[in-house]
């Protein structure tokens, strides 16, 4: 069972790396969105420090959401998804492999560049560390929750805007806990509560979402 998930994971990562420009576009999108805020708000370090957690997190949310149509769309179009659904191994496990690959190729690059953006926003070293930890804990949840939306909107008219409408409200708790933890770190307030809640949402999503995604895929394939 694990072996199948692993091979799905490897396959998806390989495909993503062969379409390197897709991965890069998203990465650049994230950086550009974050860099727009100082231009819109003004360069005062005090204000930038205050808005940084929210700005980076909202940009991460948008980047994760934009990447979602890559998750199943190509496999749905060429029929691979149908074959995957017929595999004797349970579909939720395969879904987990796919979502993990998706996170490694979209979420992880965002986590890697976040410290640089933190420096641009004049965050303290400690706050930057917390930012990385929250993104590490939070972006997998975004990929998981987003997978439900991506599976439900497969082959549906007006995919992109519709996906945003479905997924963004469900992202709100992750945004609140993630940005809240960084703000708390910047103000020197205890932040273990936020981190625990982020971890809890991740654990809950890991336990429930693969089944929801598997059901959604079967609904879309009918």
């Amino acid at each position: 069972m694990g072996a199948v998930a692993w091979s799905v994971f490897q396959r998806d990562v390989r495909i993503a790396l062969r379409h390197r420009s897709d991965v890069l576009t998203l990465f650049v999108f994230f950086v550009i969105v974050v860099s727009l805020f100082p231009l819109g708000v003004g360069p005062e370090p005090q204000i930038l420090r205050e808005i940084a957690p929210g700005v980076v997190w909202v940009a991460a949310l948008l980047a994760c959401m934009l990447a979602l149509n890559r998750l199943f769309a190509a496999d749905f179009a060429d029929g691979t998804l149908e074959q995957l659904a017929l595999v004797p191994q349970p579909l939720p496990v395969l879904v987990l492999g796919k979502v993990a690959a998706h996170w490694v190729t979209t979420g992880l690059p965002l986590v890697a560049i976040a410290p640089v953006l933190g420096i641009q926003f004049d965050l303290t070293a400690e706050a930057i560390g917390v930012l990385v930890v929250t993104l590490l804990l939070g972006t997998p949840t975004l990929s998981l929750i987003g997978a439900v939306g991506a599976a439900l909107t497969l082959g549906v008219r007006g995919g992109g805007g519709l996906l945003a409408l479905l997924v963004l409200p469900l992202y709100i708790p992750v945004l609140i806990f993630g940005a809240g933890a960084v703000s708390a770190a910047a103000q020197g307030v205890p932040l273990s509560g936020h981190l625990s809640l982020l971890g809890a949402t991740l654990a809950g999503a890991l336990a429930l979402v693969p089944w929801a995604v598997a059901t959604s895929i079967r609904i879309s394939l009918e």
């Binding site: 549906v156 008219r157 409408l165 479905l166 469900l170 929801a212």
Partner: protein, 244 residues
């Protein structure tokens, strides 16, 4: 033995809904007249908020229904997924617009109440924010089911989304609540004086029941239209047409 599933078929439910919906509508009108009379002529002026508090006679029932309808909708959606009954999905479809409207009314009247009381149309209070997110959830459900042409798939996809939403509603509510207490941006809160004059409470309860009856009447009427639309090629609908 009672046949529990007799009315789970659109064909038998259609006339039943047609029979009971006017009654719910009539009860709703009567209750609304009584409730509005109590709230405008019998309930005293609030010594702190003046006349503006009377918005709660619309606001509280609408807010209550907005949350309750989402639960009912998700319940129908779950039933449709589990038992594969067409009517359950139709009920979920019929409830969504009413729920969205109630959410909108709650937000709108809340703004009208907030303006004279807090001096602002909108604050990022936990309840306001989560009500706004609830509106987004309703809109997402309606947009998804509207975007899928295949009725069966639209029903099942919508049901899945409603279930995911209903799991998330408490998480969203508490996260917004903690976010609000952490930021302390606005020092106002909706919690009003705990002791409410008995007559005000009566007026509010009557209005709640009026809203309740209205929602049932409207949902049943809407589900009748959905049934007709979807079953238009069925034998019994054709016979219905001929009979008229």
């Amino acid at each position: 033995m009672i046949h529990w599933f007799k009315y789970s078929s659109p064909q038998t439910f259609y006339p039943l809904a047609g029979k009971v919906a006017p009654w719910f509508g009539a009860i709703s009108v009567v209750l609304a007249v009584v409730g509005l009379y109590i709230s405008f002529f019998m309930a005293p002026t609030d010594f702190q908020q003046g006349e503006s508090y009377r918005v709660i006679f619309i606001h509280v029932p609408a807010a209550w229904m907005s949350m309750f309808i989402y639960m009912v909708m998700a319940g129908w959606a779950a039933m449709g997924l589990v038992f594969n009954t067409r009517l359950s999905a139709m009920m979920a479809q019929a409830l969504a617009p009413t729920g969205a409207m109630m959410t909108f009314i709650a937000l709108w009247t809340g703004a009208f109440w907030g303006r004279p009381t807090w001096g602002t149309w909108w604050v990022w209070d936990a309840r306001l924010t989560s009500e706004l997110i609830l509106l987004f959830l309703y809109l997402g459900f309606m947009a998804l089911t509207a975007a899928i042409d295949d009725v069966r798939r639209a029903d099942r996809a919508g049901a899945m989304l409603a279930l995911v939403g209903v799991v998330n509603v408490p998480i969203i509510y508490f996260s917004v609540k903690w976010w609000n207490t952490l930021h302390q941006g606005s020092s106002v809160s909706i919690t009003r004086a705990p002791s409410m004059a008995a007559i005000m409470f009566t007026g509010m309860i009557v209005m709640v029941f009026a809203f309740w009856m209205y929602c049932i009447a409207v949902a049943l009427t809407r589900v009748r239209h959905i049934i007709l639309e979807r079953e238009q090629h069925a034998q019994w609908v054709q016979e219905l047409k001929e009979a008229e």
